[in-house]
Symmetry: C2
Subunit: 238 residues, 2 copies
């Protein structure tokens, strides 16, 4: 087999791969509830919020609505769920604050140390459906050392649309085969591989909580499989 | 006078403000000449290359040609100037390498230390006419600690078009008055101020070489004037 050209950029899926959205959003909701006297099953609320993520983006992907950033989609879903969970009487500022829970997600324990090592050898960019402000605020709070914040908003296309991947590589002036997608989700990796990118699967077996059933193991012939970014750094010689 | 809202993001012009393009490009050209046996007045070549910068972008601004990134404009200018300076016989790879001299610009001596201090208090983003790959490669080589690489390419508009400034603020989800443009160029600051942004003028009296005649002093009522990013950090309480 002819050797593949060396990878120059690592493109990171963010929600679930770099940060633990479920624990963080549940915590934010529950702290807000405790402060404001609202009660609900906040883990179920977080799961339901994430459950509306794909349908909301699908409207944009299908062209049923013009390009809309994730903060806006998240906020619409939040308003729906506050009503469903009978959490009432919130001000616009309170809703905005809660919506920015997605800007305050905590990294997995290995993320910051692993990224620091990977950064010595590769260009590190996000390839996330999160909008730029969300990712910038998250990175500043969590100290994620990105070289570039890329993904859906600059590409104006949500994953798994091919444009989201191809435009991200193009922004870096790199052929897709010089880019490796790092993700905890097999479907994301399937699309990236189909476009010529290299692939790294990271096991995040509690992303969806203690009873997670999907993405527990790699389902494709990915170039690399690791349990953490530190293990990925070992494998990539950093 | 009512107090202005606090600044949250510093948006940096890059060529001339953060990096010393003239010295760096002259050095790159002259090193290439020494290696390859070509001779020319490389400082004059660097000045001529920069001289074609505004006219090339103006074609795009006026809509005479579709959106085109700076690497492409730079390369076209380079090919023109190689002929003008009678530097002949270069391969496409050599021309590409020379073109990426703009990815290898050195920061002014205060840039890295000043940015590190400013980063503790503000979101730091580029607002440059350079394309994303150029700015990412420059930052990695020069260790410029940007929180986000923004500017003309994601905004799809070259400064001083208003969209370049307004879309950059929008990507950060910030009102223009929460953003401060940091630039060594009065005309850049004039446009930013007209759009509601705050302004910091940095003196870079040798950007255009020892006989510089423009932008030696602030020509407007800028919020802040400093001789270095470290002085700016002092003034902004970092």
């Amino acid at each position: 087999m002819a050797s593949a050209p060396p990878v120059e950029a690592l493109l990171f899926d963010v929600f679930g791969t770099v940060v633990d959205w479920r624990t963080s959003v549940s915590r934010e909701l529950s702290e807000f509830g405790a402060r404001s006297g609202h009660t609900a099953d906040w883990e179920a609320f977080a799961d339901a919020w994430r459950g509306l993520y794909q349908p909301a983006m699908e409207e944009v992907r299908l062209g049923c609505r013009p390009w809309t950033i994730l903060d806006t989609l998240h906020r619409e879903s939040l308003v729906t769920l506050l009503e469903q969970f009978a959490v009432t009487g919130l001000s616009d500022d309170e809703i905005d604050y809660l919506n920015r829970a997605w800007h305050r997600l905590d990294p997995w324990p290995d993320s910051v140390a692993g990224l620091a090592r990977l950064k010595t050898k590769f260009t590190l960019a996000t390839i996330s459906n999160g909008n730029i402000a969300l990712l910038v605020n998250m990175a500043k709070r969590a100290e994620l050392p990105w070289d570039a914040i890329l993904g859906a908003e600059p590409a104006r296309a949500y994953k798994p649309m091919p444009e989201a991947y191809l435009r991200t590589a193009q922004f870096l002036a790199m052929a897709p085969e010089r880019c490796m997608l790092v993700a905890a989700h097999n479907d994301d990796l399937t699309r990236a591989a189909s476009l010529g990118m290299r692939t790294a699967f990271i096991r995040r077996p509690t992303e969806y909580g203690p009873h997670q059933t999907k993405d527990l193991e790699p389902s494709g012939e990915w170039d690399t499989v690791a349990d953490s970014f530190c293990e990925l750094a070992d494998q990539l010689g950093c």
